[in-house]
């Protein structure tokens, strides 16, 4: 394990707690005033509970404010949550949503700067400086990972290699020839790279790679140990979500005991998902974020459905950013497959639209080697059944194509006999996840 040598923005990252609280309160007041006027949803939510922006007088008042849920985002798709005119929006990203509607995030120029800043802090947490070569293997595109990490690395002044995801042979070549010192990817892809290196007889100790920033999917401590051992590097857990900004919401430092939440921009809370009340300090619950500074797409108390806790006390690294424990589960049924969010409800909403297909399905997620596989079982109804192989293969391909275009991930579709899929009383057992992606609590 390497020592913490870099802190990108000492003034903000090591800010005294009293001063930070003042800053957070000031920003919270401004946020509430802004969204009350500019976002009809928040105006209505606050009026419904009889609150006005002036009622926010201290940080503790946050707990009185209304939540934002992913259903709110779906109902206001695509731009209904934006708090600025489209003239001021300079970037739009999105990720998969619950009812087939993606979650859409807009960014102003200031938002892009904020994002670069928090990603610079993230990369700084793993000792990145302008001397580094950052191999960015997050996908570039609508997914926030690629461009998020890219702007952060550029802000630091590191040399970014925007290689994007996939093409493992080329990743290995670049890593060797360009002398990449830092890698950004999903944990499973990082492990895959490690295996390919070993298969090709390349000794990781001969590479310049020293740190990987791994996020976009949950992973366990055991996987960290494997990655660090195989690649002879430090593996840093980074966290973020499109609804808050993308990657750059929180990051581990070299101490690797919890992720520092960049809480001058993103105010975290832990609530009991059932009572919706804040839990006692240090208790497990659902992570909730309020974006203190975002302009285009601010969220008030956004319910992430991720389970974590806030770690009390100071960190050895010197940062005063509050720490959250690595995410240990979900309060909903969202799956993360190869870094992509998949909701069973999304699969159902696609299937019901296909004529003659029964909406009885089962999802089987597994990990073959290092790669996640998503298998979807669909029952063959009498109407969809054909006595010709060609007909059934056409059915299979057709269902797979619409699922893949909605889920943005490749799917193994399996046609099964009717009543194969268990009908349980109440909630059907739709998901079989054979992986162990979360730490045992």
């Amino acid at each position: 394990m390497s020592k913490q040598e870099v802190i990108w923005n000492k003034e903000c990252e090591c800010m005294g707690l009293e001063k930070k609280k003042e800053l957070q309160l000031e920003r919270l007041k401004a946020l509430v005033a802004r969204i009350y006027v500019n976002v009809p949803l928040y105006n209505k939510k606050m009026k419904d509970i009889g609150m006005e922006p002036g009622d926010v007088k201290e940080l503790g008042d946050l707990a009185k404010l209304p939540f934002t849920t992913k259903e709110d985002l779906a109902a206001n798709y695509p731009f209904g949550m934006f708090a600025v005119p489209m003239d001021d929006v300079i970037r739009i990203h999105s990720s998969s949503g619950t009812t087939g509607k993606p979650k859409v995030a807009g960014y102003t120029r200031n938002d892009i700067d904020t994002w670069a800043e928090v990603m610079a802090r993230t990369l700084g947490c793993g000792n990145t400086t302008n001397k580094d070569v950052v191999q960015n293997a997050y996908g570039y595109g609508l997914f926030t990972g690629g461009l998020g990490a890219h702007y952060g690395a550029e802000k630091i002044g590191a040399a970014v290699v925007p290689i994007s995801g996939g093409n493992t042979a080329r990743q290995v070549l670049v890593m060797q020839d360009f002398g990449s010192t830092k890698l950004c990817s999903t944990p499973s892809y990082c492990l895959r790279l490690g295996e390919v290196l070993l298969e090709q007889g390349i000794d990781p100790a001969d590479l310049k790679l020293n740190t990987a920033f791994l996020g976009a999917e949950p992973w366990t401590r055991e996987l960290r140990e494997q990655i660090e051992e195989k690649l002879k590097i430090d593996a840093i857990d980074i966290y973020g979500l499109t609804e808050v900004i993308g990657p750059g919401v929180s990051s581990e430092c070299m101490v690797k005991n919890g992720l520092h939440v960049f809480d001058d921009h993103f105010l975290p809370e832990i609530i009991d998902p059932v009572t919706e009340k804040p839990v006692a300090d240090g208790e497990m619950g659902e992570l909730v974020f309020t974006t203190l500074t975002k302009e285009a797409f601010p969220v008030l108390r956004y319910r992430t459905r991720d389970i974590s806790k806030l770690i009390p006390g100071e960190c050895e690294c010197g940062r005063t950013h509050v720490r959250m424990q690595r995410v240990t589960g979900r309060t909903d049924d969202m799956l993360i497959v190869r870094g992509v969010n998949v909701y069973p409800s999304q699969i159902e909403s696609v299937l019901v639209k296909i004529p003659d297909v029964e909406p009885h399905y089962q999802i089987v997620v597994d990990r073959k080697g290092t790669m996640d596989t998503l298998e979807i079982w669909v029952e063959v109804s009498e109407k969809a059944f054909s006595d010709e192989i060609r007909g059934l293969e056409k059915l299979e391909k057709g269902i797979r194509a619409v699922l893949e275009s909605s889920l943005l991930i490749s799917v193994n579709l399996k046609l099964v006999e009717p009543k194969t899929i268990q009908r349980s009383e109440g909630k059907a057992k739709r998901i079989v996840d054979k992986r162990s992606v979360y730490d045992k609590a």
Binding site: F385, S386, D387, E388, I389, L392, L415, E417, K419
Partner: protein, 142 residues
């Protein structure tokens, strides 16, 4: 034209046995049978002595099954018998989706079950070419 039963089979052990067992227990006799398969699933196709009853028992046992109209033709049970018939179809632009053949004790000729797009057209063509096609009743009583 004769009716064929098609049954969807998941590729897992015992399903073919269960389907044929269901038919057997209902007292229905299977006259001809073929199984088509891919790596993921299979389709059992058969001609039976009682189509309606077979469909009923299969559905009761939870199988996806349907009846399809196919052509049953008699070809000489001698070398080149099938080839001659296929050539006749091909020359007239009739595509065969699939076929299976069997010989019976009761007849001198082999019986070929054909799945084509245009059943009437195929039957007319075959009859014109001197090939006998079977009626539903004849097929059930093979």
């Amino acid at each position: 034209m004769v009716k064929q039963i098609s049954v969807f089979l998941e590729n897992k052990s015992g399903r073919l046995a269960e389907a044929t067992e269901a038919i057997g227990e209902s007292g229905v006799n299977i006259r001809a049978l073929s199984v088509a398969d891919t790596s993921d699933f299979g389709i059992l196709r058969c001609i039976v002595s009682d189509t309606e009853k077979t469909l009923k028992v299969l559905k009761e046992r939870g199988f996806t099954a349907s009846a399809t109209e196919v052509v049953a033709a008699e070809v000489p049970d001698s070398p080149g018998g099938l080839a001659g018939m296929l050539q006749m179809l091909q020359e007239n632009g009739i595509n065969v989706e699939y076929l299976y053949a069997f010989v019976t004790k009761s007849r001198d000729n082999a019986v070929v079950i054909l799945r084509v797009e245009n059943n009437e057209g195929a039957i007319a063509l075959l009859e014109k070419g001197g090939i006998k096609t079977l009626s539903e009743e004849e097929a059930n009583n093979l």
